[in-house]
Subunit: 293 residues, 2 copies
Amino acid sequence: MKHRELVVGLVQMAAARDPAINVEKAAWKIREIAHRGAQVICLPELFRTTYFPRQYDEAAFCLAEPIPGPTTERFSQLAAELGVVLVVPVFERRAPGLYHNTAVVLDADGSIAGVYRKAHIPDDPLFYEKYYFAPGDTGFRSFATRYGPVGVLICWDQWFPEAARAVALHGASIIFYPSAIGWLASEKATEGERQRLAWQTVHRAQAIMNGLYVAAVNRVGREGEGTESVEFWGSSCVFSPEGELLGEAATDAEDLLVVRCGLDAIERARRGWPFLRDRRVDLYEVLLRRWAE
Amino acid sequence: MKHRELVVGLVQMAAARDPAINVEKAAWKIREIAHRGAQVICLPELFRTTYFPRQYDEAAFCLAEPIPGPTTERFSQLAAELGVVLVVPVFERRAPGLYHNTAVVLDADGSIAGVYRKAHIPDDPLFYEKYYFAPGDTGFRSFATRYGPVGVLICWDQWFPEAARAVALHGASIIFYPSAIGWLASEKATEGERQRLAWQTVHRAQAIMNGLYVAAVNRVGREGEGTESVEFWGSSCVFSPEGELLGEAATDAEDLLVVRCGLDAIERARRGWPFLRDRRVDLYEVLLRRWAE
């Protein structure tokens, strides 16, 4: 059976202090959005915890867990029960002292369809990810699932067109971007709307340039106090292969988005603007260098 | 002397049948925009002629000329006289039977600072460029000019993030995109606004992802009749390294845009969102392939 449509479900959540609460809330929301018809459901980056990379805190490494592990087992059961594909971010403990910012794709029978480890690791004020996460080594993939080929990248990866292109070349129909992006208190008034617009613009452009769907799932809510706080801006969104905004969540509240993605639109977009035909693979070697000179 | 600012001038033009008229009009408009302060001035793709790739016409090859040749000589003199850098598209006759869609960067002393041959050649109804132009072999560069390092890509190149990234890695502060993009009569009502928005979105995204200025210079006006016509949509635009729209021309009229581009904004943008620091050059080899599997 060939599916003509993929129904995407995005769970935009805020995080509580207690991981058990976040896991139960995510499970409950997955149940709700599945009942509304979603087939491939994605949670925000590091949904199980508050955004601990906001601070340097050695104790936070205790939050990590193996794959498979408690979180993948919990959501594997749920995926199988509901017959849905789940994209589940995990703070991965791969070995003692080796941690990754990871997302697991669970197929609709509960098996692990694939693991993606975040390749591009940010490190900016209140986003101290290089302290916690080793750069991913899975490369960029597409994972076969019951509902078609699904790609996953994570948050900061979005700004690197190399990553989206690589996932497209592996045959994905959609790229999910579990994310945790927000405003610093010191910047929101002057820079906030420009930053949020840039974020959506670049998601939209990756969809257009690669002729596939893009679904970004952000967390929401303020974490921390005053100048040490981050206000995650929500705004989870889905763009079509032709760059249309198909759905958008609130900036300041939890939200569920269910978006029907017709798969014919992928080939239609790529016939109209056939970028894959015209790539000059003989001229791109400079992309493998840090700087050209 | 280190310039802190680059003043961009974009000449959005319609084309007459007679190349001599287009050349004189371009020269006149360059004079006007230079007097308004522009330092680096760009003309639209193939500005010297109507958009002949709209049809298969062997006689059109007679419009091509060598580099250096009459057009580069004419505009070299003008560049030197006015003390401005010019980006001048040329239908290039490189050898008998070998033609390119090219742009020449003329430095402010009239010398040739660089030549770029369009790498990505479109071929779609009413845009039969593969018939006329061999794919460019110059690769992607930045050219040193009196007013700083300038990159050039041409029209269809814009949809390939590989090209913009490559120019950025060569150190350009700005990428000019001389263009000839427009609506087919059969599509304008249903697809037109989405297409124009996608075009600007992708320009904006290249500016953001590479932390540099992007200036797109389109032609304007309808060429041809009925279902054989193309209505070039103008909308020439300049985006800052942070994705702000700094200037935009009309969709339906000739226009001149003068935009002051502060060069400090490049490093400011790249410090705020340090993508160049975090590229995973060890993971990008798949980009040198047509398809991953």
